[in-house]
Subunit: 238 residues, 6 copies
């Protein structure tokens, strides 16, 4: 199921906070990846379908530096297979004591046209990654090679990342606050609703800045609010 271009465009213009509220209304309370942060906080939203990579703890005898001589090593294969427009999401078991990946692999993802990369562990070469115009999210910088703690095992299976269930094809959205995971079947309706909510929140923000009380305004329990919002939309063309 390819990501609908309208949906993608809408998701480029909304915040993870607004998306979380739309998901909350549908009974989904746990879709925000906990405690991951953008390496580059000056980028537009990251939007793409999840392509996952699963790590397990590294056993020393299975993870000498020579494993990468194997072209079929799952970490390297994942980087070559992650589709254009997709977001690679890595299950690092919330362990940032060693890296999940480094700048060379992240560069390759960028060059291949992927939409971004997320780990609930840490990246090495984080200053270089943070300087790229490619959305990447992790818990904290971590210089040790992934082999120290992680063995890449599975490509594109359901995983956990930052306490969130991530299924291949789920729609992953990142902003400067963090990353939210939208179940694939809800992506269109959640994007549309969040797009509408964003217009309302922009209106509310303007009103609040002008000095209006939030009571009756947010939420719009005062009938005047709805009228004012309608007028605002007309004036703004939104």
């Amino acid at each position: 199921m390819a990501l609908n271009p309208t949906t993608k465009a809408q998701l480029m213009g909304v915040s993870t906070a607004t998306l979380c509220t739309a998901l909350f209304k549908r009974g989904l309370r746990n879709q925000f990846i906990q405690d991951v942060h953008p390496l580059n906080a000056n980028l537009p939203n990251m939007v793409g379908e999840a392509f996952t990579l699963r790590y397990i703890p590294a056993r020393e005898d299975l993870n000498p530096i020579t494993v990468f001589l194997d072209r079929n090593h799952p970490q390297r294969q994942a980087v070559e297979q992650c589709p254009e427009g997709a977001v690679m999401v890595i299950d690092s078991r919330k362990n940032a004591r060693a890296a999940s990946a480094g700048s060379i692999l992240v560069t390759r993802l960028m060059v291949r046209g992927c939409a971004g990369v997320v780990t609930d562990g840490g990246f090495r070469d984080s200053p270089e990654i943070g300087a790229m115009t490619f959305p990447s999210y992790h818990h904290r910088p971590s210089a040790p090679t992934n082999l120290t703690m992680h063995q890449a095992l599975d490509i594109n299976v359901p995983i956990g990342c930052g306490d969130v269930a991530v299924f291949p094809g789920d729609v992953v959205v990142g902003d400067r606050e963090g990353v939210v995971v939208i179940p694939a079947h809800l992506a269109d309706e959640v994007a549309a609703e969040a797009h509408e909510m964003t217009a309302f929140e922009d209106f509310v923000s303007e009103e609040v800045l002008k000095g209006r009380s939030i009571l009756g305004l947010y939420p719009a329990t005062d009938p005047r609010t709805k009228d004012d919002f309608a007028a605002w939309r007309r004036a703004k063309g939104r």
Copy 2:
């Protein structure tokens, strides 16, 4: 008890580190709110009296999105009631898995003339809040609506925030390092002492930059130090 203007002016010019030392000398070892950080690190100090908001864990049936239709919801009431010049301090039980509040409420606090906002959880819309010229402090960004984890319960009662006891009316000071809570009855004397200490520390910093040893200088066990400091004060008019 209103905050003395001299005290406020002095607190605008000292650091939380210096204040912690003044409190330590009075037997208060635990007044620095642990692990909260400014969203905007380019602002002057935050100084104001504490106005508190207490959250408990959210029970699902009591916290649908519709609770905000009630104008008397404690979170919204708190935002409208927080006095001009006061700092809203939120007890989020050190839980940042869902937001304590978002940019609209924080904007309302700013517009109403409050002095700042602190939570030991996280804010949503953190990029927007970080762009405001309004002092705000949290543990980390958190997009999910507060209803996911938190139920606002009490306004202006004694709370814990980041392992610190906060009583309404305590004087809250934030700088780029973090936030300290000064018991109300000590505010004037602690501010005055910190003001003096700051002059001495500025003198010491200059001396150290010139190459002077810290031994005998900091603290001023060498009598020459006191003379030099007196001369420095005269020269600087401090």
Copy 3:
């Protein structure tokens, strides 16, 4: 054993990530100090031999503010004794609830020509320290005076810092990602190897940016890669 100037120069030009890989190849998996961060992220590498300071928990009766009247207090002595070119590494037991040191002591270290300072706790006056052109690393800002939680005890003994064993004389390297500890006897060979690895990684990064697959390139299992790298070195003079 003084740090070899060639080694130092090489270490100024490589990353902690590359060094961790060189150490991993030698069976050393645990030399990256966990969860410490640079206060100033715009500095060249920090390179120097470890000069250590060990803290234990503070007992209240032994740590009144007056202890600093003693010129022989170990914290103050450490700051005066840390050799030029050395990195002071502080064992704060990963406790950032009170400071490990503040800007005056860090300034003194800078003026005395030390190479940097690292704690697995936190610094007070962190905004001032972050503005200095002196490499400093900690876990998070912490305003309370060190006496609140820490008693300086030993100077230049083996310690733990961020879960890493640090022996006096080990070579400590910090970059914008974090800090790695190289056992003294390995410093020359690890520096040389990392220097070579850095050339190769720079070549690989360029190739990947041009669109080349990582398979066969990184690591260089494709013979063509070695030829290309040799040509690149000649062209670049590296």
Copy 4:
């Protein structure tokens, strides 16, 4: 609202696990107090309505040992006011570094006919409390007096305990596994349903011990299961 005797009797005979499932079916996923353990694991269930006590962090100047000279100290008042049949639930902010209470207060609760005591911190005199025939639950033993870390503040207000919202009057049930909090308005129906579920689970356990597969049995998707259960109930008189 007094606890219905039938409800109480039913709750004495069911497990916290079964109650959690009944609550889960009603959308309440977070009613099990996290990480508290019985001090005496050889007692019948604890069942009673919640009577709460709220602690905030102790400020040193407000919590000398002499505070207990005040007969109105909230901790002592709470112990004297907790109704017969009620469970005292203490919000210790999950902090077991100092005690929540000790054996003398717990003995007083027992003698006064209370149903039990729960803290998400720790008790001092835990060996003595563990030897009493009085249900008590905590995180871990903690010898330091509560004044070290905790200031008792409020009696019988809504609190958090072990990440669960606890409202006065909620029905609190403890078994050897832990403690669950049932919202007051659901107590009768949840108790009745859990009572029925327990009969079924006892039947299933017997069948499984006899060698029957869980498929079709648990849950009872095989029609034969329902017949067998009906026969079992007749035979057992349940």
Copy 5:
């Protein structure tokens, strides 16, 4: 690869501590499952090949109570498929906030002749499980149904459990201390070596109890130790 009966017999008679040392000598430092505990501390060793079950975080819409109506639900299938003599090892991502399984499923495993069950989360019905003569290990009791936090996903794939890599077929040994995972290809040699080490340690323990110094005895650097041990073996027939 079936577990060699001699190997199994040897593993029944050695401790996890001795096995960890044998693994350490082979460069495997991380095979002890961290922070899991036996529910019944009065049982012989658990020995069997790993049969794994992988959980990911539960998404609310995919995990209503009705999912168990599906006979093919992976958790239920795993319980029916786990081979006789095998140990079921569950990857619960170290999350004990909801159960990994309860007494009915554990009873079924026991009746089916499995060797034991391990989770790095928690079991519900833990008092009942603790009363069974079936080795089971978890982090702590946890009453909430697994659906609250966990979705069973994969059967018999490599997993992490308590920070240890567990591959299907690895040999899992539990004693009253905890659980160790022996890579399948090392099981025979590690068991044999641990069997020998155990004889020596039993000898050493007897000698130490008689008052002999550990120096020269443990390890046996004093030649007399080897003679004494040889005599002891002859006398004991070991």
Copy 6:
């Protein structure tokens, strides 16, 4: 300074909870070792002077299994040097991922007449240690050899253990609740005061069990309490 026999006898008869209160009255709030537990909960108090052992993180090349061939290895030397009547206290940096020691070394301490052993990490062979009539305290069982994580470094220097400062010669008291550290110079007076407090608490416990209110009784603000206590002491001969 040898431990006064009267002091020792008094400390054998009081609880760590009572001692913590006596220390609290002297401004010492942090003398209870956090989160350590007795392996054998059926023993009399442990009382002795602290003899310390300091561990740092293990570096792999310095900690092969062969290090124990050196009779001067600090861990082994410490076990042979710990004086009769002393308590060995080990600084394991609160890391229980590998053992601090095992049953053979603990047996040696017992046979040599030491008073007990404490680590803020874990012991291996914990079931055997728990069966000994020798007081031992740790955080949790841990099978991996200490070399996996710990390098023994210093004998009988000041250390931290469970967040408490421990100086050689401090008086260490353990009961079934945990372990408290009494500064050497306070041991006599704290023991005497705790001995008196214990008599009063025993009296209070009896009164409370008889049904008396704690108000006025505990503390003894009601004059009648003092009279009753005096009578009780005469009757009991205490």
